[in-house]
């Protein structure tokens, strides 16, 4: 199956600052792909290079197996992190403008616009100026602007930031709908919880480098068994000195421990009891947050 999108060691620097360092990705059709990492990791720069907004210093961007050309942009929908609308335009004029930019004719676009406005319950607002809309309504219009032309690939940069709860559900439903149609979604987020709920495939980025890339289920399995939940009284600081403990995340009444490869829970527990009163100690499926932290510390070594 030809990947919807492929990056081949793409890099971008600004002077001495390396924003994106040799990132390679393969995004297959019908998946929701999460680009994860803290703010400033290089997610937005990567997405902008995919969108031809910034030219990479080196590397290739392939869309459906071919070198991505400016024409392909008509088959991609992009919702940037910094998003807004022309305040003085009417809702329908604005949507028509965005549809026309994606090579739709007025005749093609108008029925689609009407259908979508009805779907998001804004049909009565078509002739209103954007500035008269509430923030939540404007968010809906921004989303519509990215899907009117029925793109094969939807790229959303931090789509959930600043969304009200109703729109969060709207966005999530849309992502599911897209996957259901065999289309592809890439979205970036710094909130691991969201990615965990939505993604099939993730790529973790830190300091411009892809440090972990794979199917979410697979990644979780490979990290599983090494994460333990501890509820105990005693000197938590001393945990750091225990052999085989790589990461300690303090939690209410105890901590979460990430163990190194080849260290068993039983060994750690045996050492623990020497200086702590243990109430609970059990294996736990790692969440993405933990995986990310471990991956970052591994990458530094």
């Amino acid at each position: 199956m030809i990947p919807t999108l492929e990056l081949q060691s793409v890099s971008k620097s600004y002077g001495d600052f390396v924003a994106v360092d040799q990132i390679s990705l393969i995004v297959r059709p019908g998946t929701i792909f999460g680009l994860l990492g803290p703010n400033g990791a290089g997610k937005t720069t990567t997405l902008r290079m995919i969108m031809d907004i910034i030219a990479p210093d080196s590397g290739l961007v392939l869309f459906q197996g071919r070198d991505r050309s400016a024409k392909d942009l008509a088959h991609i929908g992009y919702l940037p992190e910094e998003r807004g609308l022309y305040r003085k335009m009417t809702v329908s004029d604005h949507l028509l403008f965005l549809a026309e930019l994606h090579n739709m004719s007025r005749r093609e676009a108008m029925p689609v616009i009407e259908t979508w406005l009805e779907k998001v319950e804004l049909a009565g607002w078509a002739k209103k100026r954007v500035e008269e809309l509430s923030k939540g309504m404007q968010q809906k219009i921004q989303l519509l602007g990215t899907v009117l032309h029925q793109p094969e690939l939807l790229i959303l940069d931090e789509p959930f930031s600043g969304l009200d709860p109703v729109n969060q559900i709207l966005f999530k439903d849309l992502l599911d709908e897209y996957r259901g149609q065999g289309k592809t979604v890439i979205f970036s987020t710094h909130i691991m919880e969201q990615a965990e709920k939505l993604c099939d495939h993730i790529c973790l980025i830190s300091h411009g480098k892809a440090i972990l890339d794979g199917e979410l289920a697979h990644i979780k399995r490979s990290f599983g068994g090494n994460s333990y939940r501890l509820v105990a009284d005693g000197d938590i600081e001393r945990l750091e000195k225990l052999p085989g403990v790589e990461q300690i995340i303090p939690l209410d009444g105890g901590a979460k421990l990430l163990l190194g490869d080849g260290t068993s829970g039983a060994e750690v527990l045996a050492n623990l009891t020497g200086f702590m009163t243990v109430h609970e100690f059990h294996s736990e499926e790692p969440d993405l947050e933990d995986i990310f932290i471990k991956a970052v510390s591994d990458a530094r070594v």
Binding site: D57, I76, Y86
Partner: protein, 431 residues
């Protein structure tokens, strides 16, 4: 670059401008302002024409009568020799009294009471001293003063000539005034045209070019800043490249400017058409109103395009680099300096369009649109100079567009700290 994208962006920009109230207000307001500006001085002149009540005290006993005659003869429109009367005088001659100081005090009082507009004191030694005193509440009435001055000179000159033994008739014959008829020469053939008419056209075109270039250039800046601050820019970049967005914006706003100019010129041409003017009875027979030659209009539009693209790209660059109008203001004022500079050369160039200074300044690309247009309007310069002006300005515009595109593609995505000139220069050098 894809033309369809540029077209879509340009259409949006154009319609956004044409749907704004500001566009139509300025379309109507500017001609009214300019008309008011050119009509107001003649209205003020008309007010002085209503009449000047003068009292003349003549200690020589020779001048007053002849002065009155000259001034009132001037006041008769039928007098061919002296032409149109600039001021209507109503004159009373007073005998000089023994006590000159008391009489002057009395005259002052009359003027202050409004019985007379002014009094004129002709001293005994006028013929030797060349001086006449004019006392009035308002001494800014320069037309009255000028007419009076020339009338007194004329009378004094005649008296002196007669005293030197010349016959009064001969003197009158020989001291007739000459009127200057201005004829403008150009490639398209000579035509009679008031010197004032040529000046008016040159100045009006300069004004319009100056205002539209500045206004539309700054509109580009505000448009770019608005897209940046409303965060709509990257939404649009989802489908178009930065350079397409910039080009579309420049073209769209340019078309709005051309539309406005088109409305003004169409109106001007219609109003100055011969058939239309005949309606106005007050237009004297044979009086030539300044007309716009087609070639001049073509040059005007060409220079508008060049001037606009230079300043608009300059302003687009500034708009993209900064976050808001306040930040952009400092750099934007540099642009204003470039536009205002031609004002300094306005009068010298109009007065002597062939001078070295006029030639040199009109060939400096930043000023060419304004000053070359001025020269063409006043006196057609050699073809090579016009051609060179165009070539240099087009080269400058091309360079400016390139520079702007480099800064723009980086700047529109930069938020936060106000960039320094050094940083902006670094953007230019990014791949």
């Amino acid at each position: 670059m894809r033309a369809s994208n540029i077209g879509t962006i340009a259409k949006r920009e154009y319609l956004a401008r044409l749907r704004s109230k500001g566009f139509w207000i300025s379309t109507i307001a500017l001609p009214i302002l300019m008309a008011a500006w050119s009509i107001l001085p003649s209205l003020m002149v008309a007010k002085t024409k209503a009449g000047q009540k003068l009292v003349i005290v003549d200690q020589t006993g020779q001048v007053a009568n002849r002065l009155t005659e000259t001034l009132t003869r001037w006041s008769e429109p039928s007098d061919q020799q002296l032409g149109e009367p600039p001021v209507n005088f109503e004159i009373e001659i007073l005998r000089p009294s023994e006590n000159a100081a008391a009489q002057q005090e009395q005259l002052d009082q009359w003027v202050l009471d409004g019985d007379y507009d002014a009094w004129v004191w002709i001293d005994e030694d006028l013929l030797a001293k060349d001086l006449v005193e004019y006392h009035a509440e308002s001494v800014a009435n320069f037309i009255t003063q000028e007419v009076l001055e020339s009338a007194v000179s004329r009378v004094v000159r005649q008296i002196r000539l007669e005293e030197a033994g010349y016959d009064a008739e001969v003197v009158a014959q020989l001291s007739r005034s000459v009127e200057l008829e201005t004829i403008r020469l150009s490639e398209e053939g000579s035509r009679a045209e008031g010197g004032l008419g040529g000046f008016t056209i040159a100045f009006a075109l300069f004004m319009i070019l100056y205002m539209t270039t500045l206004i539309y250039g700054q509109q580009v800046m505000h448009g770019v800043l608005e897209e940046k601050s409303s965060r709509v820019v990257e939404v649009v970049l989802a489908a178009v490249q930065p350079v397409e967005l910039m080009a579309g914006k420049l073209v769209g706003i340019c078309l709005a400017g051309l539309t406005q100019l088109g409305i003004w010129f169409a109106t001007a041409v219609a109003l100055t058409a011969p058939g239309f003017l005949a309606i106005f009875a007050f237009m004297p027979e044979g009086a030539s109103l300044p007309t716009l030659s087609p070639a001049l209009i073509v040059h005007f539009f060409a220079f508008f395009l060049l001037g606009y693209f230079f300043y608009a790209t300059f302003y687009a660059m500034i708009g993209s680099a900064f976050n808001n109008t306040q930040e952009a203001q400092q750099m934007a004022s540099i642009g204003v300096v470039f536009v205002v500079m031609p004002w300094i050369f306005l009068l010298p160039v109009i007065n002597s369009p062939d001078s070295t200074m006029a030639v040199v300044t009109s060939l400096i690309p930043v000023f060419t649109p304004f000053l070359m247009l001025l020269r063409i309007a006043v006196k057609t310069p050699p073809a090579w100079q016009i051609a060179l002006g165009y070539v240099l300005t087009i080269a400058l515009c091309a360079g400016m567009i390139w520079l702007c595109a480099r800064v723009y593609r980086v700047g529109i995505l930069m938020y936060g700290k106000k960039p320094t000139v050094k940083e902006i220069w670094r953007w230019v050098r990014y791949a």
